[in-house]
Each structure stands twice: as C-alpha cells, then as structure tokens.
C-alpha cells in the first residue's frame, strides 16, 4: 500500500466518479484484500464475508459521487464507514435480540474455518471493547498504517498509536489469563 497520497488513486477515483468501471476495478483490486480481511474477522463465515464485501463495493460505487477526495486515507475511511454500516445490518439481521450497544460482547459461534489460532485469537479479540477491536483488526487484518487507521477512525495518528498499544495490552492479559502461550 502506498503511504503517501498518490495522484494515481485520486485520478482513479475521479474517473470512477465519472462512471469508469475500469477505474473502479482498479480501486477494487487495490483494496479488496484489506477490507475483506477486516470483514472476515468480524463475520461468522466466509460466504457472509464475501457477500458483505461485495455489497460494500457496490455501495461504494453508488455513493462515490458524494465522496470528496482528500487523501488515499480518506477513501479508506469512506469505505470503512460503508462496511461498518453493512456489518451493523448483518448483525441486526442475524441477532435481532442483541442490542446495538452490546454488539461487541456478542458470542457468535465460530465456524470451522476459524478454528485453532485464528479462531482463538478472534474469540479473544471479540472480548475487547469495540474501539480496541477495530484498531487491532485494522492494524493486523487490514494491514493499515497508523496514518491510515487514524483517517479511518477519524482520530489523530498519535491517538491511534496509543489506542493500539492499550488494545494489545488488554489482549495480552486476556490471553495469558487463558494460559495461551505468547
């Protein structure tokens, strides 16, 4: 991923805003890994994750005209808002009884493909607060820089670093409580 704002992405966004599917394909190609990883870490199965990812990009296309390019990170932030909304609807459909505030304490059944380390890690990440969860997922699953995370979460870069540090501490404590060797 490019760290700096690059002219290329800006051009692609502009072309896509004018209806270029080709440009949109390029945007999709450069971002799908990042966002799929994030979505997959938050859904209970791969098919659902694929669906949400697909819908998010379709929504992105629909709402791209409303987007004002400031930086590459601002696009990430824009997409992230879309994904959060999709995920919210996904959980709402899935577990209507659980209120929005308690969403993060959810105890979703982990699917087979998330067994072992993957499932174990996610289970413990799920016990963190939503802010901490997000920062870990974005940092490791989406492999974002702090700069990017800051833009996505709409906080300053140093706040992102601090939050990341605290999230890791919490996770570590949780894991060691469960005798998980780190």
């Amino acid at each position: 991923m490019h760290q700096e704002n690059n002219q290329e992405l800006k051009t692609l966004v502009e072309q896509a805003q004018n209806g270029s599917k080709h440009a949109f394909k390029e945007i999709f190609d450069s971002l799908n890994d990042k966002f799929f990883a994030y979505i997959f870490s938050r859904t209970s199965n791969r098919d659902d994750a694929l669906d949400i990812c697909q819908e998010s990009f379709i929504d992105l296309w629909k709402s791209l005209k409303r987007f004002r390019y400031k930086s590459d990170q601002s696009l990430n932030g824009f997409i992230f808002i879309i994904i959060k909304r999709k995920l919210y609807h996904y959980y709402k459909d899935k577990q209507k009884i659980i209120s929005l505030d308690k969403l993060d304490e959810k105890q979703l059944i982990q699917p087979i493909e998330k067994q072992n380390d993957y499932g174990y890690m996610l289970k413990h990440i799920d016990t963190l607060t939503s802010n901490h969860q997000d920062i870990i997922r974005l940092r490791y699953w989406s492999q974002m820089t702090f700069n990017e995370i800051a833009a996505v979460l709409n906080i300053t870069e140093s706040a992102a670093k601090v939050r990341h540090h605290r999230a890791l501490q919490k996770l570590k404590i949780n894991l060691s409580k469960n005798n998980y060797a780190i």
Partner: protein, 483 residues
C-alpha cells in the same frame, strides 16, 4: 520492536486471505450490479414514459408484487423464482420503448444474460478451485454446477434470438456487438466445459455405503460400492432431494436408513422415470406410476437335509426375499432370518443354507417391484430331510474267474459306490498299498472287473460300498482262484 503478540497477530491475520478465484467472483458480481445501477435503473425510473410506468404498475399488480420485487428480480438469475419476473419486465420495457431504443435495450438485456452466465460460472474454478470448494459445502458446489448448467444454454439461446432479430432488422452494428458476446460466451463455456459436463461426487452414507455420482452430459449416473460390512439388507429407493426434486435418482441404501429417506419424500424402488432430464421441463411426459404389486405364483420348495431351494414366479420383474423360521405363525420382525436378492426378475429362486435336518421350517416370500409395490405370500412350510446314517447292506457277492481276469459282483440295498480290494496274501489287510479297483457310480448292482491277474493263483478280496451320505459297508474277506 514488535512484541510477540504483534507477531502472533500478524501471522494469524494472514491466514485465509481472498483467493484469486474469490476476487474474480466478487468482481464479476460487483460489475453486474454496477452495470445495472449505471444504465438500467435510470432508464426505468427516470426516463420512463408515462405509458411505460402504467404498464409496469399493471404488471406488478398482476403478479401481486411490490416495487421491491422489481429491484430484487433484477438480480435474479436463471433458476431463481424471480427470474421469470425479470424476463417479463424486460419484455415490457422492450415493447414500450421507442423503436430506435429497442435494439439498444435488446443488446443490454443480452449483455445481462451473458453476465449471469459469467456470474454462475465464476463459482467454478479454473486454477485454484479447491479453495472455493473447501469454503463451501460439497452440496453447495453441486447446486452451483447445476445452476451453471442451466444458465449457459439459456444465455446462449437468448443471445442467438437477439442476434436473429437484429439481423432481420438489418442492424449491422448490433449484430456485430452480439457476435462478440456470443463469442465471449462460447469461450466461457469452453473454458468450463470440464466443470459442467463431467463431475464426480463420492458420497458415503451413515451405513458405510459409498456411492459415486457422475455427471456426464447432464445425465447423472450413480454407481455403488457396497462394502460387505455386515449382512444388512440393501434397499433400492428413489432418492428425491428435497431441495431439488427434479434431480430424483435411484440409490441403494441399507435397510436401517429407509425410514429416514422415506420421511423426506423418497419412495421405494427405482425412480419411475429413471433420471429425469430437467431441461425438458416443457414436455411433462410423466408416465403413470406403477401402483400394482406383483402377483406371486407357483411357490415351490425342494429340500435336502440341510438346504432348501425356494422358487416362485411373479408377473412382473421384482426382487426376491424369503423370510424363514422354525416357529409358526411366522411373524416378520427385525430378528427374522431372511435371504434377499435385489435383482429384478420374474422367476425367483432363493437358496436357504445351513438349515437343521429333519426340521420343519416356515417361510414367507415377498417381491418388490421397481415402483416399490410389494407382494407378500402367505405362510408356507417345508421339512428338511432326515440324514441317512445307515450303511448299505452288501449281499450276493460272487466272482467269475477266468485265467487273468475276473468280475466281482455284489448287490446293495441302496445306491452306493463300489470298491474291491484284492491281494494274494491272507489275511487281507486294507492299507494304502493294497491294490483296488473302484467306481463312484451310485448303483445297487455292482460289477467290478479285475484284470492283470496271474493264472492259477488264489486271490483274496474285500468289497466295499458307500452311500450318498458316506455311510460305508465292507464285506468279509473272500477269495477266488484264477484258472
């Protein structure tokens, strides 16, 4: 300085990334959707003539759907319920659009068909299909292949119809355009021909019976490997998958699994129409099902001391089953002994082995025809023979000697074989070295010729006979003298 937990997280997060195939599939779906957003929706909802809106509302009223249905049906592919609505809307649009726009619309619809095919096929893998298959169940994959099987021909048909229309109207540009699409679709089909036409599936049911399903040119064949785990009865049933009833096929299952299968709508016997080709959905040539049970005729039994052959005939091909027991009345339960042959015949024969001798057995025969109609006889019985433990009685032994030969003649009171031991020494003790002549024919009047004898010599001999049950009798020592 990354801590251990950071490393661990990085490693963990790297697992399960999007595969190339999934990305392609994602993009294909996204592309189809955004194409519709781009030019399809506005043409309905923004640039609509009042005439069209009126017609659309009428259509919706007729099919009793809401506007939401239209939006949803736009995404429908072949095989979905909404697909027919999708097609209907397209037709209405075509009928009502201005003449110069019609061809464009036709092309656009054709393009949609092409994309539906692409979407269906995006599930089939080319290079790394394995990753897709592992992420979904085999059954899902099976469904998808079937769906792709349907989509492709329908898309092609559609494209060719459009082409024909455009050709008739002389829209050269349109024809060229559609030719491109047909080419694309053909290529797509060629690339996936292996996925579509042949696939194999191996299923093992809860009783350890493996069946193999091959799809070759849209015909599904099922092969079975019955491994002889126990002597459980195997039953032929017509398996009607609850979610895909047109894919009914004949399978063989173990008897304990029958109730479960019947519960979800399967029926006993082979499928009435064999494998139904669901592409021929238009000509509903369903044959009237066979509801008549076979008639059981001419039940007979032939017994020996510890086996019995039960034979009967039926007026239609059916399988063969004999329940048997030493108690009467014979009530068939899961403990009842039975012998079963599953091949469908009209002349039935079942051998019961390992029976006790001099015992009366009761039996019921039953035949099941290919449609699962079952006929059962009333109770019959047979008595096994008492074994022969009495040796034959040898009498009237005589010999008529000449110089070098003689005939030894004797009689027995039952059919038995013949042996003569002879020697020039006395007493004659039968050993493996003793000269003998024998015959295995079971007869009562025995004549055994001896040859190569010395002249004017006294020979001592013993005759012996054994009956069919191997009960043996021997004579005392006798003698003759050659001339």
């Amino acid at each position: 300085m990354p801590s251990n937990i950071e490393k661990k997280l990085k490693e963990t997060a790297k697992t399960n990334p999007l595969t190339k195939n999934e990305k392609n599939m994602l993009w294909t779906k996204i592309e189809i959707s955004i194409n519709k957003i781009n030019d399809f929706k506005p043409s309905i909802f923004v640039n609509l003539s009042p005439r069209f809106v009126f017609a659309l509302i009428m259509i919706l009223a007729i099919i009793g759907a809401s506007v939401a249905t239209v939006a949803a049906s736009n995404d429908a592919g072949p095989g979905d319920i909404l697909y027919s609505i999708d097609l209907a809307i397209e037709k209405v649009q075509l009928a009502l659009s201005k003449e110069e726009n019609k061809d464009n619309l036709r092309l656009k619809f054709a393009q949609e068909r092409l994309m539906e095919a692409q979407r269906a096929l995006a599930f089939q893998g080319d290079d790394n299909s394995a990753s897709i298959i592992t992420s979904t169940s085999t059954e899902n994959n099976f469904k998808r292949i079937r769906k792709a099987n349907k989509t492709l021909p329908s898309a092609l048909e559609r494209l060719e119809k459009t082409k024909e229309l455009l050709e008739r109207k002389g829209n050269e540009q349109g024809v060229e355009h559609i030719n491109g699409m047909i080419e694309e679709l053909t290529e797509l089909a060629e690339n996936h021909v292996s996925d579509l036409d042949d696939f194999e599936m191996e299923i093992e049911d809860e009783n350890g019976i493996k069946s193999e399903i091959n799809n070759y040119r849209n015909k599904i064949k099922v092969k079975f490997n019955l491994n002889n785990s126990g002597n459980k009865e195997k039953v032929i049933i017509c398996h009607v998958p609850p979610d895909n009833p047109e894919n009914a096929h004949t399978i063989v299952i173990a008897e304990p699994a029958v109730p479960a299968h019947l519960a979800h709508g399967d029926y006993l016997g082979e499928c009435v129409n064999g494998v139904q080709d669901n592409d021929n959905g238009d000509n509903n040539t369903t044959s009237t099902p066979d509801v008549t049970a076979p008639a059981i005729l001419n039940i007979s039994s032939s017994v020996s001391t510890n086996t019995a052959d039960i034979a009967w005939e039926t007026d239609e091909a059916s399988d063969s089953l004999v329940w048997y027991s030493t108690t009467t009345p014979l009530i068939v339960s899961s403990d009842t002994l039975f012998v079963n042959l599953s091949n469908l015949v009209t002349t039935h024969s079942i051998s019961l082995l390992n029976l006790n001798s001099s015992t009366t057995y009761y039996f019921i025969v039953s035949s099941l025809d290919s449609s699962g109609n079952k006929a059962t006889s009333t109770e019959y019985s047979f008595t096994t023979l008492t074994p022969d433990t009495t040796a034959p009685i040898i009498s009237n032994i005589s010999s008529s000697a000449s110089t070098n030969t003689t005939d030894i003649i004797w009689e027995t009171n039952e059919e038995s074989d013949s042996i003569v031991w002879y020697s020039t020494t006395t007493p004659l003790i039968v050993s493996s070295d003793t000269l003998f002549v024998d015959s295995s024919n079971l007869i009562t009047n025995h004549t055994i010729p001896l040859s190569g004898l010395s002249a004017t010599t006294t020979y001592y001999f013993i005759v012996g006979s054994a009956d069919a049950s191997d009960n043996k009798a021997t004579s005392t020592e006798l003698s003759f003298t050659t001339l």
